[in-house]
Amino acid sequence: MLSSGALAWARANLFSSIGSTFVTVGCVALAAYLLPQLVAWATTRANWSGTDGAVCRQHQDGACWAFVIAKWDYLRFGSYPLAERWRVDAVEAIGALLIVWLLWTNAPRRTWGALLFFVAYPILALVLLRGSSLLGLPIVDTLLWGGIFVSLLTAVVGIVFSLPLGVLLALGRRSSLPVVRAASVAFIEFVRGVPFITILFMANNLLPLFVPEAWAPDRLLRPLAGIIIFSAAYMAEEVRGGLQSLTRGQYEAAVALGLNYPRMMALVILPQALTLVIPGIVNNFIGLFMDTTLISVVGVTDFLEAMNNAIKDPVWAGPTIMVTGYVFAGIFYFVFCYGMARYSAHVERILAKGRK
C-alpha cells in the first residue's frame, strides 16, 4: 500500500514525461556522484587531530577539523582574557536558557521569562561581560571582545531593539500628526536608501562627533546602533504592510469600545498586524544575523573575522585550511538562520490553529 503510493507519487512527479525522466535521472546521478565525496571529505577522510598544520598538509583530500578544534576557543571568545572567559560562558548559558523559556510556546510563566530576559538579563550581561570593579570583576575592554559571542550578542541586541523601534516607526509613518509622520518617513527612507556599510561607517565616525568626548559611545556600541537603525527601517516597512492589511472596521470597533490609541494598538491592532507579517519579520531577523558579519569593517572581531584571523595563522598554513574554515562558518550561520526559519513556521502553525 505504502510502496504503491510512493510509486504512484514518483510516477506523477518525477517521471511524468521523457523530459522530466531525464532531469530526474540526471539529478540523482549527480547527487550520487557528489554527495559521497562531500561526506567522505567531511568525515572519513578528514583530519581530526593535530597541534599544527602538518597532518593537514599531508592529507589534503579531507577537511582539517583539527584546525577548527585547535582554534575553537579563539573562535568563540576572540581575545577575551583567558581567566575571564567563564563570564562569557555564563552569559551565553543564561541567555540560552531564557531564550528557550521565551520561545517555548507552552512554557510556564512566560511573562516572568520575558521580564527576566528583557530587563534583568541585559544588566547582568553587561556587568559580567564588561566587568565591574564593585563586584571585583576586572574590566574587559570591548577591544578584546570577539568571536561567536560577539556575533550572537550583536544579533540578539539587533533583534531585540530593531523590532520595537520598527513598530514605532511604522506607527509614526501612519500617524495623523504631521511632524511625527514626516520624521518617520524621512528616517525610514533615508536609512533604506543607504547601504548598510555606509550606515556602519557613519555610526562609527559620525556618532562620536555629535556628543561630548566623555560620552563618546563605545566602539562596539556604535556598530550596534548602526545595525539597530538599519534593521528598524526595514522592520517598519514590514510592520506597515501588516497595519495596512487590517480593515478599518478593526480600528473602529476598538475605538467604539472606548479603547484609547495605545490600548487599541497594543491589544487589537498590533497583535493582528504582527502575526500577519511574521514571515517578513523573520526574514529581516535572518538578514540581520547575516549582516552582523559586516561589522568587521569597523574593526569589530565577529565570528567570521575571527575565522579570517585564524586562517592566517602560519602555524596552520595549508591548502585545506581556508576551505575548512569557511565551510564551518557556513554551517554555523546556516544552523542559526535555518533554526529561526523553522521556529517562525512553527509559530505560524500555532497561530493559524483556531483562527480559521
Binding site: 472596521g249 470597533a253 472606548g258 484609547n260 483562527r355
Partner: protein
C-alpha cells in the same frame, strides 16, 4: 465652531441632541442641517436610500466621523476635538457594525472582556462573569471559547452585540446590523435587538428591516440626500407618510 462652550451639561435630559449639524466629505455635503433629539429610553429607527447619510449620522454620535458645523451633545457631553471627552462618550455608547468587526485574534469571551478590563478597569473575573451572563442572553454561551472565524454570521453579530453590552452602555447604536447576514440569520439577530429594546435601552438602529421598525421603534427617521425628511411614530409613518420622497422610498422597499 459649536454653539455651546460648556462641554458637559449633566442637566441635559436628552440622551442625544443634534443641533444644526452639517458634515462634508470634501465638497460632498453628507449631512445637511440635522436637528434631532433622542430622549433617554427612546428607540429610533433610521431608514432611507443608500447614500442618504444615515450611517454617517449615527457614526457621528461616537465620533467615528467628525461633523463640521453645529453641535452634537451625547449624554450631556458635547463632542469636540477633546479626545478625553470623546473617550468618555465612547465608553457609554455601544456600537454594532454591519460587518461585525469582532477581533479575530481573540476568543468570543476575550472579545467581550477586553474593554471592560482595560477601559472600565473591571477585575478579570468579574468581567468574565458579566460576559458569560450576556453571552447567555444572546444565546451563544456555548461558543464562548471559539474564535470569531469559527462562528456563523448570525452568531458573530450576536457576539458583537454582547461585546458592546459588556461595557454596560447607556446608548446602543446599530449600523445596519443585519445587512451582511444570510436571510435565515436575520431573525436571530433582530430577536436579540428586539429583546434589548424591550428592556428600555436607548437605541438608534439604522436598518432596512421595516417589520422590525414597525414593531420596535418609538419613532422612525427617514433620511434622503443628507437631510432628515420625516420623523414620525411608526404607525403613521408607514400608513400615512407625509412626504413624496418618503412615499417613493416606502413603495420601493415594501413592494
Amino acid at each position: 465652531m459649536s454653539g455651546s462652550s460648556a462641554g458637559v451639561d449633566p442637566g441635559d435630559a436628552a440622551a442625544i441632541r443634534f443641533s444644526n449639524v452639517h458634515k462634508w466629505y470634501g465638497s460632498f455635503h453628507v449631512l445637511r442641517n440635522i436637528n434631532l433629539t433622542v430622549e433617554r429610553g427612546e428607540r429610533i429607527v433610521v431608514c432611507g436610500p443608500s447614500g442618504s447619510g444615515k450611517s454617517t449620522l449615527i457614526r457621528c454620535i461616537n465620533r467615528l466621523e467628525e461633523h463640521q458645523r453645529g453641535s452634537i451633545v451625547v449624554d450631556g457631553v458635547e463632542l469636540t476635538d477633546n479626545i478625553k471627552r470623546i473617550d468618555e462618550v465612547r465608553r457609554e455608547v455601544g456600537m454594532v457594525f454591519q460587518s461585525f468587526n469582532l477581533f479575530p485574534h481573540l476568543t468570543i469571551l476575550e472579545n467581550c472582556t477586553l474593554a471592560p478590563v482595560w477601559v472600565r478597569k473591571m477585575p478579570k473575573r468579574d468581567a468574565e462573569e458579566l460576559a458569560t451572563k450576556l453571552l447567555a442572553r444572546v444565546k451563544i454561551l456555548d461558543q464562548a471559547h471559539k474564535y470569531p472565524g469559527q462562528l456563523s454570521g448570525g452568531q458573530q453579530q450576536r457576539a458583537a452585540i454582547a461585546r458592546a453590552l459588556c461595557m454596560t452602555p447607556k446608548i446602543m447604536l446599530f449600523d445596519e446590523p443585519t445587512s451582511s447576514l444570510d436571510p435565515e440569520m436575520v431573525k436571530e439577530v433582530l430577536d436579540t435587538v428586539t429583546a434589548l429594546a424591550q428592556e428600555g435601552m436607548t437605541m438608534i438602529v439604522v436598518t432596512h428591516e421595516m417589520g422590525f421598525a414597525r414593531q420596535v421603534a418609538d419613532r422612525v427617521v427617514f433620511m434622503d440626500i443628507g437631510e432628515i425628511v420625516e420623523v414620525n411614530a411608526p404607525i403613521p409613518f408607514f400608513d400615512h407618510p407625509q412626504h413624496e420622497r418618503t412615499k417613493l422610498f416606502l413603495s420601493q422597499i415594501l413592494r
